[in-house]
Symmetry: D2
Subunit: 309 residues, 4 copies
């Protein structure tokens, strides 16, 4: 079977400071579709063109940040095998019962070397992308409600031991290294961009002293023109833009970074390239890291390295 | 490992009537990069952003059409396993020695139920996408030489037994059915679009009385604006356009069909969606097949069903 | 004063067969903004980014077509002068009282050599483009309601004596000839594209045996991506598309022709070039008229020359 | 006649520090077409789609900046009339003989209240836009050589007495005020954007203590995608980007500011709106000037107000 193991990032649970404000932001400004609320007060969203029940879960808390990120695996047998592989590798795993997240099967949860909580799951109710699977139109009205991303795409996480992450994700979970940024010594890793499929990144890590930090969660738009539209909507809605519209050298994405009302950074981007595991890894030297991150400015802004949640 | 088995369509060998004219067309008008010529007189091309040595091979012949399409598999062990699986399934396979195609390892060749010749291979020299893998720019001058597709993307083939193809590709080769078109009876298949990864189609088949026919080979462009640019270049170079720019309902691609100097149809397209094997299959009813194929015109043109090579 | 005389096409009155259906079409599918209805049952619309009260007036009638097209002139003195100039040239003019069209001043009406009724007027209430003139955003929600053109842009009219029109519009009304198409004899005019400002055409005529016919009224979109969006919306709403998305050679517009529910052809287009009266006139020979009209197909379709209202 | 008086900005003479480096920059990176060199060592360029002999003249000097900006008027009689009108208004004018600039007729030169030198001229040789005026294609290879703007579009100039400029340009030269920015007092002008045709600005001024300063000269691109392409080319060629890609609130342009090798700021932009003299003037309050200038960031950067040449 050509697609096996881990398929894609399937959900992320984000902490927000004010739920009402956040529901408005994620639903009407970012333009996700609300799909449910649970007994714990969590609110569930999906991008309009996603089929599974949810990809973003909001939880009200005293501090912003990410609780966990979950990856959907190919099937139940894969989940069991990967759990066993993780344990064999020395990772302690925990089972979260089906139903803990709405419409979601049992999850295997573990902490990765950078301190982030990661989950695997095989089952989530397919609720469809808001249209029939018979003779569908290419898009619906929801594709123009707010920024209206196509999908939750990836996350960039900050923490100290990204070498440990790289080893875990490539040796146990079937990811491969697409791009990397080196430190001044020309050997140590500053950042890694890893994929479990064709995307230039399904997950990325930057070396950072503090563990378990979120740099941004990312949403895919259809085109560079939709990136301009998103930037316009951000300004209309007084969303603080970090940087952009601009281009990443790394992964080639055409992008904006901005902040949700709680200070969590998010990205809306388009383009980028598709890759395969037999393609050569791309390397960015320390001197060119600015160009790699912000291709047009060719220098990092202070916020990129310091503001995380 | 997340990406296993068959990875992607890696090459297609096309018959052309006049090699000089075709070299000019594929190199300067379509805008592929010539990478070699072999003792048999075949000429090899790749798209600028592809890494492997070639994806299109031209062979001079008395009639146009496709000799074979080849898929790259994950590694040598996969090649052996799939060969064994094919034989176990009852498909007769043949080995083509490494080096028969330039810079290409051993190939496993077989004929599929629609009469087309398909190959699997695990090795082809990585020649790179015309730039360094260290601190690369997002594109190079080659990205603007002719229509300059990013990659050879897929092929649409015509033949009688597409049910047999569907069974073979899904049960043995790990593909899955992304979209399908039904005949008047609401049950029989008129067309199938199958994927071995995230693409909405890596291969497609339409039911047709004559076996082993080529409808089109397809090349991916970066954006809808590049589709307009391609159409303009076609007109500047007197390339006969079949239809487009337009939209497909099926796979959502924004597209042009046109003909190479030998009468082989090719497609240049952008957009479309990405998919996963757990997504629901989309179905087009016979009454809406026109909308499925040409979303804007909502009817087939006569050529779509009749002109093949 | 740099802009004097005739400024722009300001309104067109179109005959429709069913008013309710047409109100839905022009308001929700094409996406104009309804601004009023008068005692005669006429319904008024403007494009979202237009400032004057209306640019399209619908009148219910037994046959489709155009009643008249009106051009806004710089001021009241210009209106008087042009009326006098027209009469001096031998054109009989008529005054239509202020208020006959809602929010519109007195109009000078006359019939041009091709039999079409043309009007000049200096005053129409400025109702604004749906947002404040203080600190405005670049667009509003109305910019995404239906196809949402930016403005009524021009019309293409069919009739016999286009030479007479050319003389009248250039010698009396200050237009200039931007592009022209010649007949087989290499001298006679098949079509003319004339401008009163920077637009590649504010008005165009094609030679045709029957007088006073409408080929299409045209609406400007923001971008080629909006042209694709418009084509998608046409298909979603079962609007019959004549041709497109495609490119015009003449004026370079990226375009779609389609039909309103009464059979009146309309165009939604983007791009094209801007011009000035000192620029050289472009000429299309009869052999290349197909390329001039439909740049990608390089041949006329039968409908272009025969279907008018 | 609908277009009279001043037609458009026709040329700008820019001082550069190193001519060889500048020829490479303007010719290969910005992508203008070199059209001549004169005895004084000046080098002439035009945008690919412009018809007149030149629009940008480079002069080697010890300091960067703009020598003068010239506007083409409708004809010789207009030139004489405007000269007389200027003198009657109290502006001292000077005649520069035909031939002083290559292929250019006599010029009327004067200094405006902000200290800038402005010229009017009626004649410049039409050299064409690099293709035939018979059956032309929509673009040529030159449209993809460097950033390849369509035209020199406007300039933004800095100086103290912008009120004097506004009066001169609107009362004598036929311009009209399209947008304005107010100072803290809600009455005084910080900036004005004026047009002599349909463009949202043919010229703009910002109040600044020092006279005769250049903020930027501006070049029009075809689309927002071409803006991204320009930004990519800037980075590939190590052109210092000031800001962008971003959006202006004022005029709605989608834009990049960057610097030529001598430190002269230039703009490459697309979109924006078209206007007419009867449209209402748009006003930006002092609190929203940041949003007006840089719509996405909603704040000025320090350079916008301080770096001029």
């Amino acid at each position: 079977m050509a697609t096996t193991g881990v398929m894609r990032p399937g959900h992320v649970q984000v902490r927000v400071l004010d739920m009402d404000e956040s529901i408005h932001f994620y639903g009407n400004v970012l333009g996700l579709v609300e799909t449910g609320r649970d007994a714990a007060g969590r609110v569930y969203f999906k991008a309009w063109d996603e089929h599974d029940h949810h990809s973003v879960i909001l939880r009200q808390a005293d501090s912003a940040g990410m609780d966990f990120i979950g990856f959907k695996v190919r099937d139940r047998a894969t989940l069991e095998k990967l759990d066993a592989d993780l344990q064999a590798y020395g990772v302690k795993t925990e089972r979260i019962a089906a139903g803990d997240l709405l419409e979601t099967g049992e999850r295997v949860r573990f902490v990765i070397p950078t301190g982030h909580t990661v989950e695997l799951y095989a089952e989530k109710t397919c609720v469809g992308n808001s249209q029939s699977n018979t003779n569908p139109d290419p898009w619906t009205a929801e594709a123009e409600h707010g920024m209206a991303p196509i999908r939750f795409d990836h996350a960039l996480l900050y923490g100290p031991d990204i070498d440990g992450n790289l080893k875990l994700f490539t040796e146990v979970l079937g990811f491969y290294l697409v791009e990397r940024v080196l430190l001044e010594d020309g050997k140590s890793l500053l950042a890694i961009f890893i994929s479990c499929g064709h995307k230039a990144h399904d997950l990325a890590f930057v070396r950072h002293p503090e563990p378990n930090k979120l740099h941004h969660i990312s949403f895919l738009l259809q085109s560079w023109e939709k990136v301009l539209r998103a930037a316009d909507l951000m300004s209309m809605n007084r969303v603080p833009i970090d940087i952009g519209p601009t281009r990443h050298g790394i992964t080639r994405g055409a992008t904006i970074y901005a902040f949700d009302p709680s200070g969590n950074r998010f990205e809306t981007f388009a383009q980028g390239y598709e890759t395969y595991p037999d393609y050569p890894t791309k390397t960015w030297t320390f001197e060119e890291v600015g160009t790699g991150i912000f291709y047009h400015d060719r220098q990092l802004n202070e916020r990129f390295l310091s503001v995380v949640t």
